[in-house]
């Protein structure tokens, strides 16, 4: 499991796969005020990204990888 769900917080670790998207969507619907930790994330599947873009969660930390961070910032910040 590359996405960890904790109380009010979800953490992406390593590579989040397409299979995680459904769980993520389900969890975000039940935890609309959740924050997202992206720091340990090295890649996420388009499907996961799409869920995040639709859910507008609060991003608590951005990925370490600069290119991923740039991508996610344009995708997730512009939605705010």
């Amino acid at each position: 499991m590359s996405i960890e769900f904790n109380e009010g917080e979800v953490t992406f670790r390593g590579v989040a796969s397409v299979e995680d998207a459904e769980l993520l969507l389900d969890w975000l619907q039940r935890n609309p005020a959740a924050t997202v930790q992206l720091e340990p994330c090295s890649h996420m599947h388009t499907a996961d990204l799409q869920v995040l873009m639709a859910a507008h969660p609060t991003i608590a930390s951005w990925p370490k990888s600069p290119d991923l961070r740039a991508w996610l910032e344009t995708a997730l910040k512009s939605e705010l």
Partner: protein, 810 residues
């Protein structure tokens, strides 16, 4: 290896053969549109299938082939022999790749150069290679990578951060080509294993990229996680080829637009340079969308001017409206009106209301919206940020359309399978097992009559004996039918072997500068799979020989009064339980004198043989090892191997090969093979109270010869039969049995006349028995060293019948 890959490989072979056939067919009638379409379809499908695996080399070659054929189909390229050569070459290369995949499971990188070579050769035949600098969208219509006219793509630098713009500006000033990539993944792309985000992250030379949704994403409850609604916008300094390579699997979902700086508008202000871009040949149709956008902007400004909630904000609002209008005008390339706006603004500010600006807007409105759009007009950072959504949705929809117009890829393979023959692909081993089982059943079934006999004679139960016999006849019938049915399963048409000849003949005759027409007859003739497969090599040898040695060059043919184009006929037919294949050419024939001399020179025959050898005998010498009649050794044939290989291969299948030739007229080679090797007919003979089987292929006749008719020439027995001297040998003598041959009551020998090679010989045995069909098992282990026997078979009573290998025996 996974089953999908196995299926792909077997399909690839079929496709490749079909492609070769179609190319041959086109050679005869280059304007056959149906054949071209079919050819295109085949290559297209094969390419699509190859895309299921990570064989980019294969896919690239096929892609090039598909492009080329697409042009042939659209009559942009004329079908030619070079084109066919090139495509055949490419297919050969693909087959090499397939072979490698089959053996090693992957394609090694050493094929990269080959890929490059083949792809280049194919591309070289295309008049206009789809290229970024080409605006000829006609050639690119299929590729989906170049903006088709009227698609209304607008590059919006809106949202591109200043740093990226600066970087872009530097590239433009350095003369690099920048590309704007709009990647709209197909909705169902997740199911195809794509991760668009992953691909986007790999784009080389990325200056800036964003991901957005084409349409506003639905609320979470309605969101379909497995349907991709995103699109990627990228600005990159990478060359187009690299981008195409990266997006090669999803090229139809990608638009790559070259970004051209409009020379004079590259701004000097480096703080936030609004990089003005020109899209190559943006057509005037775009103005529809632009008009809508302008309308939206103008009405928003009117609304703003009309607001009167907070008087203290009025001035700021008025200034903002003026700024928007100025930017809008600049964006539309109308710098001149900026002054007018300034003027209206100062009047408005002085008057304390927005009326003058409003008035100016009303006046300009007509001009702004109706003015014909210049083809080189540019979009700048003209719209206020709040309107960003409107502008960015324009390219989004424009980009999405071509994708949705295309039929979804699901089910494509089903449509492509036009020839959905109701056939089953079964592993040959399973059929072989079935064949072995039925063989055992046939043998076991033969034990029943013996059982019936024993029931009667040994136990004296006649009733039971009769019942067993009745049951036997039923089982016998079913077993026979079953055997026949299974043999039918194994039957294959000779076309399997024949279909490679058009290509072979074409290639060789081109190489030899000979004009040859190939005629194939009786392609539907069927025989056992093993027979058909083992036919392939001998036939290729013969065809090569005919082309190389038999058929003459056009000049020679003309000189000898024959048509310039030689004819090579390969004919298959079924004769009784044998399949006969004839290879006939109308070439120069075989000169027995030349053959004899060559054979003598090579020491194959001695002087005496040279003297008395007849013409037919001499011609048969071509089957002797180490004889070549060609003056020069070519890479095709003439190394003295070939015809002897042919003979041994045919004889291995219990077949015969006969050559007839007439000098100056041509040569006919006739191969006769059994339909099936599974069941062979043998005649049972008795010698010294032992039974032996003699293959019926060898048996000519059975005769009774009176002891007095046997003549002795020195130590050898002979007999004169119908005016011919037939040498006799006793079976006992040949097998080393220390017993004399028995005669019947009339003092007559039982003589089995057998044909061996070209001659007839008599075998003296003790008696003849019936002819039966047996399933011959080869001798294995220590027994395999006994050359006198070709195998063994089980008889119905459980005894073993040894099958004689007559050729070795004599």
């Amino acid at each position: 290896m996974n089953p999908l890959l196995v299926q792909f490989l077997s399909e690839a072979r079929e496709f490749s053969e079909a492609i070769g056939n179609k190319l041959m067919q086109l050679e005869g009638s280059p304007n056959d549109q149906d054949a071209i379409n079919e050819l295109f379809r085949l290559v297209h499908t094969l390419k699509g299938n190859s895309g299921l695996f990570t064989f980019p080399e294969m896919t690239r070659v096929l892609h090039a082939g598909e492009d080329l054929l697409g042009m042939v189909r659209n009559e942009q390229v004329v079908y030619s022999r070079e084109l066919a050569d090139c495509l055949l070459d490419a297919m050969d290369f693909v087959m090499v790749l397939c072979d490698e995949v089959e053996t090693t499971g992957a394609i090694s990188s050493r094929h990269a150069q080959g890929t490059e070579r083949v792809t280049k050769a194919l591309r070289a035949l295309m008049p206009v290679f789809p290229d970024a600098t080409e605006n000829d969208s006609r050639d690119n219509a299929d590729r989906g990578t170049v903006v088709p006219e009227g698609s209304g793509i607008l590059i919006s630098f809106e949202g591109v951060p200043a740093a990226a713009r600066l970087e872009a500006l530097r590239h433009i000033q350095a003369g690099d080509a920048l590309h704007w990539v709009i990647y709209t993944p197909a909705k169902e792309c997740f199911f195809q294993g794509d991760d668009p985000f992953h691909i986007a992250r790999q784009v080389p030379g990325l200056l800036w990229g964003t991901v957005r949704s084409a349409l506003p994403l639905p609320p979470l409850a309605e969101l379909d996680t497995y349907s991709c609604a995103l699109e990627f916008h990228l600005l990159t300094a990478a060359p187009r080829e690299e981008l195409e390579e990266l997006f090669r699997y999803v090229i139809e979902q990608v638009k790559i637009v070259k970004v051209d700086p409009e020379g004079d508008s590259v701004p000097k202000d480096s703080a936030a340079p609004p990089v003005q871009v020109e899209i190559a040949a943006v057509p005037s149709i775009v103005s529809d969308e632009v008009t809508t956008a302008i309308e939206t902007i103008l009405s928003a400004q009117k609304q703003i001017l009309g607001l009167d909630d907070q008087p203290v904000w009025k001035e700021g609002r008025t200034r903002a409206v003026a700024a928007v209008l100025k930017n809008l005008s600049r964006g539309l390339g109308e710098e001149t009106v900026v002054g007018d706006i300034e003027e209206a603004l100062s009047v408005s500010l002085a008057a304390g209301n927005g009326a003058p600006l409003l008035h100016w807007m009303e006046n300009r409105r007509e001009n702004l919206t109706r003015r014909p759009r210049r083809s080189d007009s540019a979009t700048g950072r003209s719209e206020p940020p709040s309107r960003g959504a409107a502008t960015s949705s324009v390219p989004a929809r424009g980009a999405a359309d071509p994708v949705t117009e295309e039929p979804t890829k699901f089910g494509r393979r089903a449509e492509d399978n036009l020839s959905s023959a109701r056939s089953l692909k079964v592993d040959q081993a399973k059929i072989d097992m079935l064949m072995n089982l039925i063989g055992e059943l046939v043998v076991e079934k033969n034990a029943l009559p013996y059982l019936a006999q024993r029931a009667e004679t040994q136990y004296g139960v006649r009733e039971l004996s009769r019942e067993i016999k009745a049951q036997y006849s039923v089982i016998n019938r079913i077993a026979d039918e079953m055997q026949y049915a299974i043999m039918q399963v194994r039957m294959m048409a000779v076309s399997v072997v024949f279909q490679r000849f058009p290509r072979l003949v074409r290639d060789i005759s081109h190489k030899l500068n000979k004009e040859v027409q190939l005629a194939l007859e009786g392609e539907q003739t069927e025989a056992d799979k093993n027979i058909i497969e083992s036919l392939a090599d001998p036939l290729i040898h013969i065809v090569r020989n005919s082309l190389d040695h038999g058929l003459e060059t056009p000049e020679v043919r003309r000189a000898s009064g024959k048509p310039e184009t030689g004819t090579l006929t390969i004919r298959a037919a079924q004769e009784a339980d044998r399949v006969v294949i004839e290879i006939i050419d109308d070439g120069k024939g075989i000169d027995p004198k030349v053959i004899k001399r060559k054979a003598y020179e090579k020491g194959l025959i001695d002087e005496a043989a040279l003297e008395r050898m007849g013409d037919q005998e001499a011609i048969n010498l071509i089957f002797a090892a180490g004889l070549s009649t060609a003056e020069t050794i070519s890479d095709l044939s003439g190394r003295g191997v070939g015809m002897d290989v042919v003979r041994s291969a045919v004889e291995k299948m219990h077949g015969t090969v006969v050559v007839n030739s007439e000098l100056g007229k041509g040569t006919k080679i006739r191969i006769s093979l059994p339909l099936s090797m599974a069941v062979s007919q043998v005649m049972i003979v008795e010698s010294d109270r032992q039974l032996f089987g003699v293959p019926m292929d060898h048996v000519v006749e059975t005769v009774r010869v009176s002891r007095s008719a046997v003549r002795f020439i020195k130590q050898s027995m002979t007999v004169i039969l119908r005016g011919r001297v037939v040498p006799l040998k006793t079976m006992n003598g040949l097998l080393g049995i220390a017993a004399r041959a028995k005669t019947n009551a009339d003092d007559e020998f039982a003589v089995l006349l057998v044909q061996v090679g070209g001659g007839v010989m008599g075998l003296v045995v003790d008696g003849f028995r019936e002819t039966i069909g047996v399933i011959q098992k080869p001798l294995v282990g220590i027994l395999s060293g006994l050359p006198a026997y070709s195998g063994s078979a089980l008889m119905g009573d459980g005894s073993v019948l040894m099958i004689l290998n007559i050729r070795e025996l004599l």
